[in-house]
Point group: C2
Chain length 332, copies 2
């Protein structure tokens, strides 16, 4: 398998719920006006806590410093696993499950924090730029590693990284087992042709920027057992949308498409308290048992919490599995 | 002829050029998200100086006080002349020309300030609420006057206004003859079906909110002899757009429509220094000679200057007429 270190230097930021209006101008530019910006990696995820915005340096320049904007101090690099046909795995599962044992677990063992961003098209594994040499030395046995430079994939040679090699210790640490929340909403993971993005602009603007303001003709349909979660990303020209079925109904049915049979997903939100960015092994804690059971999963980290999406038909077994995990003594 | 006092109480405001980003959130809501607002009268006009926003009280609530927002202190009421088939005028001209002698001139003589807002559909004559009794007593001989109340047109009886009657003095005052500027751009006055507004949303957002920021693939086509002017209004569900041909080319040709034969208009900007709101007779100064020559004209007041639009083929004679007016001694 190939691992690509993509040519984006990313910032992970959070906009306060009550501060979004101040950022409507730059965000609409980044989402809809491709010829006004050089930003090539943009992701916006609304959760009940805040809006998590992950974007490259060109996009980050658009966000004015503000009391409403929190910025994680590191530069993050997105990694991407490309199956080159030689995959030995017999797994049919997709998403983070596919890379749980080959990428997520080894990085957790090396105490490398990861920030996951699953999209319709692929799963991005964000790692800190400072951890890159550890990442490469950890994964080079399993993967052919390439660095994307100006559109070209350049193989990463061992000697390129030997200088920076600073493999973290392997001592076992006691990972916190975080509480999980399983809201009732059903989610879909969708995409659309970027050329049709203008057709859904007003609906998308409404959902992203005005969903918290009251509607004049409102009939509120969201139950208390549901959790607000909406994710939009525009990465290298590809659009991905994760939304619940309530939000989906507001979009024209003929423009958004899902993979295969319009499958629905349920969410597992990880974390009782905001997780921060330094703890490692959180993704591994969820993705390893999913991999053991060969259950597909999307995984979206946000500024405060992590979110796994599993197929609706698997939510009972996933719930059982997580309850079991939480009764056992925590292990590394 | 009938004169309708419409059921909107309006504020006239101005947003500074460098402050627009702070108002993107409420303005996009007012323009595109009809089910999120009760605002029924909204107009936004960009000029080189600022953005003039005229809107009803429901819309005004959306604008947060800010150093970038100037608000004229009065409540303004829109008047509207409806030709009821008994019109004695043989004039073929449209726009403000049609009401120059019957409305504009008499109000100027009574020292009533007017703020004009021509749209594709009609011409709104805004007067201060405090001037209403003078307006009614001035125009009641010429017009059947109706007040719109909750969708009903109620005839205004003389006794309704006799209490407030405070006809201003008729003494002649020396009106300032303001300098005029005649930019080179050609303008069109257009409309579109409100149901197709979402189709042009991203283009309209780009033109309205991002035209001053550099474009990544830019070829700047605006000449120094042109003046930035773009007006959008959404009034009682009707959309009107005034833009120059450079802006027009950015919109899909099949959605916007102009009256009759796609006629083009040239602009006369009135005022060397910002005009303020207290001087009266400015509209009359331009519209009377146009009426004498039976030349159609749209007329759009903004926070700083007034703007008349005349048919392209008449611009030479209008220019001559205005030059002549500026050489003569000023008259009341």
């Amino acid at each position: 398998m190939d691992l690509h270190i993509l040519d984006h230097r990313l910032r992970v930021t959070s906009i306060a719920k009550n501060g979004l209006a101040n950022f409507t101008h730059p965000l609409i530019k980044l989402i809809f006006l491709r010829n006004r910006t050089r930003c090539k990696f943009f992701s916006l995820t609304e959760t009940p806590e805040n809006y998590t915005v992950v974007l490259d340096q060109e996009g980050f320049k658009e966000l004015q410093p503000s009391e409403h904007l929190q910025v994680e101090s590191s530069i993050w690099l997105p990694l991407n696993v490309v199956s080159n046909g030689n995959a030995s795995s017999s797994s049919q599962a997709v998403g983070v499950t596919k890379i749980a044992k080959s990428v997520i677990a080894p990085l957790a063992q090396q105490h490398v924090s990861v920030f996951m961003l699953s999209t319709y098209q692929t799963d991005f594994i964000l790692v800190r730029e400072n951890d890159l040499s550890v990442v490469i030395s950890t994964l080079e046995e399993e993967f052919n590693i390439y660095k994307e430079v100006g559109g070209e994939s350049v193989p990463v040679q061992c000697q390129d990284v030997s200088n920076g090699l600073q493999k973290n210790g392997k001592e076992a640490i006691q990972h916190t087992v975080h509480p999980v929340l399983i809201p009732k909403n059903q989610f879909c993971v969708m995409s659309l042709d970027p050329d049709t993005l203008p057709s859904i602009a007003t609906t998308l603007i409404d959902v992203l920027f005005y969903s918290s303001s009251p509607k004049e003709d409102a009939q509120s349909s969201s139950s208390e057992d549901c959790v607000k979660f909406f994710s939009f990303s525009l990465i290298d020209g590809y659009i991905s949308l994760v939304m619940d079925t309530d939000a989906q109904r507001r979009f024209p049915a003929d423009l958004l498409f899902t993979s295969s049979s319009g499958e629905l997903w349920r969410m597992v939100r990880i974390g009782g308290q905001p997780l921060g960015f330094d703890e490692c092994g959180i993704v591994a804690q969820i993705s390893q048992p999913l991999a053991d059971s060969d259950i597909s999963a999307y995984y979206i980290s946000t500024f405060s919490f992590d979110h796994a999406l599993v197929p609706e038909e698997d939510i009972v077994s996933v719930t059982d599995m997580l309850q079991h995990q939480r009764k056992e003594p925590a292990t590394s």
